[in-house]
Amino acid sequence: MTSPHTSEMIALKDVRFSYADRSILKGVNLTIKKGEIVAIMGGSGGGKTTLLGLISGRLKPQSGSVIVDGLDVPKLNKSNLYGLRRKIGMLFQFGALFTDLSVFDNIAFPYREQTNLPEDIIRSLVLLKLEAVGLRGAKDLKPAELSGGMARRVALARAVALDPAVMLYDEPFTGLDPISVGIIGRLIKRLNRALGMTSVIVTHDLNETLRLVDRVVVLSDGKIHRDMAPEQIRTTDDPFIRQFADGLPDGPVPFHYPGPDYLSEILGR
């Protein structure tokens, strides 16, 4: 079951993926070692979230292979895929909490569905996880009563409930205030160290991410543009990364969506 190179947790080889006629990934090669925290960065619509979909088996590549924990993900049948997913946690962009369940029941959900633990042990486990994200006092609230940052922390507690070997984060900082960003960032790092997880973070929040990760992979035009250490990102003169790091509106990533010539369109010619 385990890969010959036990240090490799995730390996993508020449992965190509397209939606209908729009090519998203054009041959991606990426290896992530056990215990690493890797950030995937790149422009919007650049295939970052698609990459997470491929790793978790929610999407199938047109060609290439996706190996996670020694298993060829696109070739797995449903029960084997679900077996693998028990070892993968995912934090969704907006948390994706079950709105009809309380905070407590949201975190109890994976235990109740995936284990045969008695209810009093589940209670202890849920309270442990809630304590870790600082929200034990909010256990009886409904998701609608939580702030964005609190909801994201509850979702994080739920995602790591079964102590996954791999954690996938889809834009974990989007739409949060700076304090919540800091809290989530610290939690990601702490959980990673405590549980020895391999983490993949899709984000465009550069500042928080660089403090957090071992490696940054920059996606551009469906390929891996750069794969470097966080310190290098700060100093590189690569125009694409500079535009990204300095928040410049125009550059290798154009400000304008492709369209007909401005003058001729506005003058109706």
């Binding site: 679900y82 077996g83 028990r86 909490l97 994976p110």
Partner: protein, 265 residues
């Protein structure tokens, strides 16, 4: 001219193929749902919860509607029957109309508006907010955890609600016919007892309800599951559930009625 004609046929072709496409999608979905039922049936508590939301919460509207429909049937029925001097048959007429037709059909229409639309909106929103994706990522199949219990709840609730509708209708007719108009109480009930057959009338009506429950349940979960993840997408999916459910119920009723009651007498 030619290009307009070509465009017309293109649109027509697109319309037809997209409908067939959707029908295929629905058939495939129904197949997957059938596979998911096995897992779902073993978790009765989930189904019971949905029967409460869909069925029990629809009790009042179904019972009140049944009462009024029965009362109206009594007024109209009496008016015609007394011309032929057979006003005592009012109980039979009302009971047969309710048990064979109005009970299953009106209940299904009410259910589509009251419960199925809510199921569509709920599943559609769960999809839009990635709750179904999150479940799938936790290795819990949304089809057996979310969709199948709601589908089964419709099948369980529908015949029970139809029975309550018909019962309330008979009581309504009794109030109008016996209490207000003054038809003989004994004749009202004994004629009904003599002329309503358990197998032909009650069982066939029950069968109709089960078929309607299956259709309405399937339509509501299908539309919700494939709703576009936008406000507009969920709104139109909810509307489609009510419209398609209502039309399917009426069409199925025609087919079932012909199969069950043609050439009986």
């Amino acid at each position: 001219m030619i290009s307009q004609l070509a465009e017309f046929f293109q649109d027509l072709g697109h319309f037809v193929t997209s409908r067939i496409d959707r029908l295929g999608l629905a058939a495939r979905f129904a197949g997957l749902l059938l596979l998911a039922l096995g897992v779902s049936i073993r978790r009765a508590s989930l189904i019971v919860r949905e029967v409460y939301f869909s069925g029990v919460r629809s009790l009042s509207i179904v019972a009140v509607s049944g009462l009024f429909v029965g009362m109206v049937l009594a007024v109209q029925g009496y008016e015609v029957l007394q011309r032929y001097g057979s006003a005592e048959s009012l109980g039979v007429i009302v009971a047969l109309s309710l048990v064979r037709e109005l009970g299953p059909v009106v209940t299904a229409l009410l259910f589509a508006g009251r419960a199925s639309s809510a199921v569509t909106a709920e599943i559609g929103l769960m999809r839009a907010t990635e709750q179904l994706a999150a479940m799938d990522m936790m290795a819990v199949d949304p089809l057996s955890r979310v969709v199948a219990p709601r589908f089964l709840a419709a099948i369980v609730s529908m015949p029970l609600l139809a029975a309550i509708f018909s019962t309330a209708g008979v009581i309504g007719a009794w109030i109008i016919g016996v209490q207000l108009i003054g038809i003989d109480d004994g004749a009202f009930w004994s004629q009904m007892q003599a002329n309503v057959d358990v197998r032909i009338d009650v069982l066939n009506g029950l069968l109709k309800s089960i078929v309607f429950g299956t259709a309405v349940g399937l339509i509501s979960v299908f539309e919700g599951y494939f709703a576009a993840p936008t406000a507009e997408g969920i709104a139109s999916a909810t509307t489609r559930t009510v419209v398609i459910s209502s039309l399917s119920v009426l069409l199925l009723d025609l087919v079932l009625t012909v199969m069950m009651f043609r050439g009986l007498s």
